[in-house]
């Protein structure tokens, strides 16, 4: 059922020291801890074994050690909303949900819990709403039930801003639904009227149908179109022209003229105004749901920092809100709790899981004087911390604010539409007034002059203009999503098309990120086996990719590591282990040299070195190699053909970087780069007017990813990195980067064609309408024709992508 070294329940690799073996149904099952064993027994005991068959886990779960916290009633009570004597609701966010089966399992098991009446877990946002009977159970019992299964519940009360956003999304949906429903009715009436126009209709019946049309069009204009009308009013007050004003102008002209014509016995254009509103609302709906998805990403980031903290005041410990902590306060963080604000350790040595902050998967030892970031998880012992920054200034909050700012910036495309409107609105209004004045003074009847002016306003209707960008963006992002490429919005599409420099991170991006041991060079007097045994002993507790490679090699050599001793990890350097034979050091050359070990010079070619020493004496080294992705070379060549500059930014040694860049024919590389160096490097390039894309895989590249014009992450990165990057490649295939750039460039081409068409259409039809050659009914038909043209031009994108990529290359197998 599972390979012997991963846990049956949580699928994490089992550190040999922690192995728990259980006999269930005469099968021997391996667990990484008693918690997982317990969870397995609960799940199988409840008859829900199918969980293990149905789940698909690609992401990291909650690290072990996170479950020791107790849930105390008073702090949870504040989150409970009481409905009446026997019903109460509580909202929570559940950490550790990795697939739909987790949702299923939680829902199935929690309703069996006494006192829980209803539960609904939202797969997208990881939020759960639980309704329970407060006389039969307590929130703390529910929380422990969830944590027994291996998930981490956090109480959650949505902020005012989030509630407002949710309300807005709903009201937008209702506005659109109403507009769509009424427009469909209207379409039927319009059909009859169009038929009547060409084949003749009884005036009485025409009038009747026109009344019905007016009845269904009115709510569309004034209810569904309210956001546009309000926006237009605002921009009138500010004396600035916006897209909203242009839309409102078109809609209200068509509507008001139709009302007038209805009583005068002319033709009506209610369908024009209703269609504009419906289509543009649809565009807004897509846009807002994309934005809400990214907001839920920020949410996940923010909730990592707990709401409450235990402050030490003299002899007593008080639970206070994290927001009320001030620099200089002393707080106590127990094992299993997350650190609420940025702090410095006062007393206590502990292991801290900082994976959410740095992307580093293994726990790091923190001692007195070390700094710890908000959101990291305390694993082993209770520590006392001195608060350094208030909650709003802490790492997580700063990070979330950065992300939010990035997402709220106005899309350049949208601002372009506004710029167009600034010119277009006054121009069209002037022409319309001019037309009316011209016909009036040249002696035409009042009605004819007005009719011509209205024709101008109707053909100038921004429908094609309004559709030009959203349809192309939709077609592009839809097709990209089918290829496993997610653009985080229209502006990203535009930026991606303009990228001229791509910076690659090496590990996990150009390479597989899974190194293997290639060569073992023992010091004289040592054998390969003893060296490997030493290495596996030091690395057995670590889940670092290099350690995994060493352990895998040790296993094939039949070595059972003996993990007795205290291991200390030095991030980016190596491991230190105290054991009975002395101190073992395993890590980079600099790490050993700095610790006073004499390391001989060895030509390691370009591979990663792991040196080992015992008691200060060099014992040998392991050479590890992380193979390049097989499609990397081809992708680099294809990108070069598109005229893109590429550079490799890596924290690795210059020799390794040089060889990789030679292998890939990549012109440029920068080695020994820290995350800060990468950021600085990108900044200087941006100052030289380059549009830079950064391709990375983790949150330790986060500053560089967010600074780059387009931050691109590949599948396998941390949850938050995926949520917050601009461009996500969900398949571990570099080829999709090529496709992404291709789609972005084509989409921009299509948008330009669309805009060009919409303009030239106006250029031709406005003079026609002004000269009185175009009756409003033909103007409306021409407008519909131009919209259809724009939409079908956008849909061409899909065919283009399919033709270029599926014929040239057979679908890659996963």
């Amino acid at each position: 059922m599972s390979s012997p070294d991963t846990c049956v329940h949580c699928k994490l690799p089992i550190p040999p020291a922690d192995l728990v073996v259980d006999q269930i149904d005469s099968k021997e099952l391996h667990f990484c801890c008693h918690g997982c064993q317990g969870a397995y027994r609960i799940i199988t005991g409840a008859g829900l074994e199918s969980f293990y068959r149905n789940r698909t886990w690609d992401e990291q779960g909650v690290p072990s050690g996170a479950f020791e916290a107790d849930y105390d009633e008073p702090s949870l009570a504040g989150h409970v909303i009481r409905r009446d004597e026997t019903t109460a609701d509580i909202s929570l966010i559940i950490e550790g949900i990795r697939c739909a089966s987790c949702v299923w399992l939680l829902e199935k098991l929690l309703v069996r819990e006494g006192g829980v009446t209803a539960i609904r877990v939202n797969y997208g946002t990881h939020r759960a709403e639980i309704r329970f009977n407060p006389q039969a159970t307590t929130p703390a019992k529910i929380f422990s039930a969830i944590s027994r299964l291996g998930y981490l519940p956090h109480p959650f009360s949505p902020g005012a801003a989030q509630q407002a956003a949710a309300r807005e999304q709903r009201s937008l949906l209702i506005r659109f639904g109403t507009a769509a429903f009424l427009s469909m009715q209207l379409m039927g009436f319009s059909f009859a009227l169009y038929g009547g126009y060409f084949h003749g209709i009884d005036p009485e019946i025409r009038q009747l149908i026109q009344y019905f049309a007016a009845a269904v069009a009115t709510p569309v204009v004034f209810y569904s179109g309210w956001p546009f009308l309000a926006g237009a009013w605002r921009s009138l007050k500010n004396r600035s022209a916006s897209m909203d004003l242009l839309i409102s102008l078109g809609v209200s002209t068509a509507y008001c003229y139709s009302i007038y014509a209805m009583f005068k016995g002319g033709e009506v254009y209610f369908d024009t105004s209703a269609m504009i509103i419906t289509l543009i609302l649809l565009g807004r709906l897509f846009e807002s749901s994309a934005r809400n998805r990214s907001i839920s990403g920020i949410d996940k980031l923010l909730r990592l920092a707990p709401d409450s903290a235990s402050r030490v005041d003299g002899d007593e410990v008080n639970t206070v809100a994290s927001a009320s902590l001030a620099p200089g306060d002393i707080i106590l963080v127990r094992p299993g709790e997350r650190i609420p604000v940025d702090c410095q350790v006062l007393t206590g040595d502990t292991e801290v899981d900082e994976s959410t902050v740095t992307g580093e998967p293994m726990p790091i030892l923190r001692q007195a004087g070390d700094k710890v970031s908000a959101g990291s998880l305390n694993l082993s012992t209770s520590i006392r911390l001195k608060v350094e920054k208030v909650a709003a200034e802490s790492f997580i909050a700063r990070m979330a604010r950065l992300v939010e700012e990035a997402q709220n910036r106005k899309a350049p495309i949208q601002s372009m539409a506004d710029r167009v409107a600034t010119l277009f609105v006054p121009m069209v209004t002037t022409i319309a007034i001019g037309t009316w004045a011209f016909w009036w003074f040249t002696g035409a009847s009042h009605g004819e002059a007005l009719l011509n002016a209205v024709s101008v306003l109707i053909v100038a209707c921004p429908c094609a203009l309004g559709l030009a960008t959203p349809t192309a963006v939709l077609a592009a992002s839809g097709n990209a999503a089918g290829k496993g490429i997610l653009f985080r919005g229209g502006d990203i599409l535009e930026l991606t098309s303009r990228v001229d420099l791509i910076a690659f991170d090496k590990t996990g991006t150009l390479t597989h990120g899974q190194p293997t041991v290639e060569q073992i060079i023992p010091a004289s007097g040592q054998t390969e086996t003893t060296l490997l045994e030493l290495a596996s002993r030091a690395e057995s507790g670590s889940s670092h990719p290099l350690a995994m490679a060493v352990l895998a090699r040790a296993k094939t050599a039949g070595i059972q590591p003996d993990p007795a001793g205290l291991v200390t990890a030095v991030p980016g350097r190596g491991l230190k282990m105290q054991c009975k034979d002395g101190e073992i050091l395993a890590g980079s050359r600099t790490f050993l040299t700095e610790s006073g070990v004499e390391v001989p010079t060895i030509d390691s070619d370009t591979r990663t070195e792991v040196h080992l020493s015992l008691g200060g004496v060099w014992q040998g080294l392991l050479l590890l190699h992380d193979p390049l992705r097989q499609e990397a070379q081809q992708t680099v060549r294809a990108l070069k053909k598109l005229g893109l500059d590429m550079v490799l930014l890596t924290g690795d040694r210059p020799e390794t970087a040089q060889q990789v860049s030679e292998n890939l024919a990549m012109p440029d590389y920068q080695a020994n780069m820290s995350p800060a160096d990468k950021t600085a490097w990108i900044e200087t390039r941006q100052e030289d007017n380059h549009t830079v894309m950064m391709v990375g895989d983790g949150i330790n590249d986060a500053p560089a990813l967010s600074l780059a014009d387009v931050g691109c992450t590949m599948a396998g990165g941390t949850d938050i990195a995926l949520e917050t990057s601009d461009l996500v490649l969900t398949r571990p295939d570099l080829e999709s980067l090529h496709i992404a750039i291709f789609i972005a460039r084509k989409a921009m081409q299509v948008i330009k064609q669309n805009l060009f068409w919409a303009f030239s259409y106006n250029l031709v039809t406005i003079p026609l309408a002004a000269s009185g050659k175009l009756a409003p009914v033909w103007a409306a038909a021409a407008m519909a024709g131009s919209s259809i043209l724009v939409v079908s031009n956008s849909l061409r994108l899909g065919r283009l992508v399919r033709r270029t990529f599926s014929v040239a290359k057979p679908p890659a197998s996963d």
Binding site: S50, V103, N122, I174, Q185, I205
Partner: protein, 61 residues
């Protein structure tokens, strides 16, 4: 003639309004808040209600 047209139009409006009211109700109920989950939920319940465990197709290791 006119009378029957009016009756038919009003009837179609009534049916449409019914559908619209149901739509409003579902939005208010929050059915559109989670558009990812239901497609999986559907697959899960299927198995539990009808077939005994072990007979499901597409079983994963």
């Amino acid at each position: 003639m006119v009378k029957s047209i009016v009756i038919l139009i009003v009837l179609s409006l009534c049916i449409g309004t019914g559908a619209w009211l149901i739509f409003i109700w579902t939005v208010k109920r929050g059915d559109f808040d989670d558009v990812e989950g239901p497609k999986y939920r559907m697959l899960d319940d299927d198995e539990e209600n009808s077939s005994p465990p072990g007979t499901s197709q597409g079983e994963k290791k």
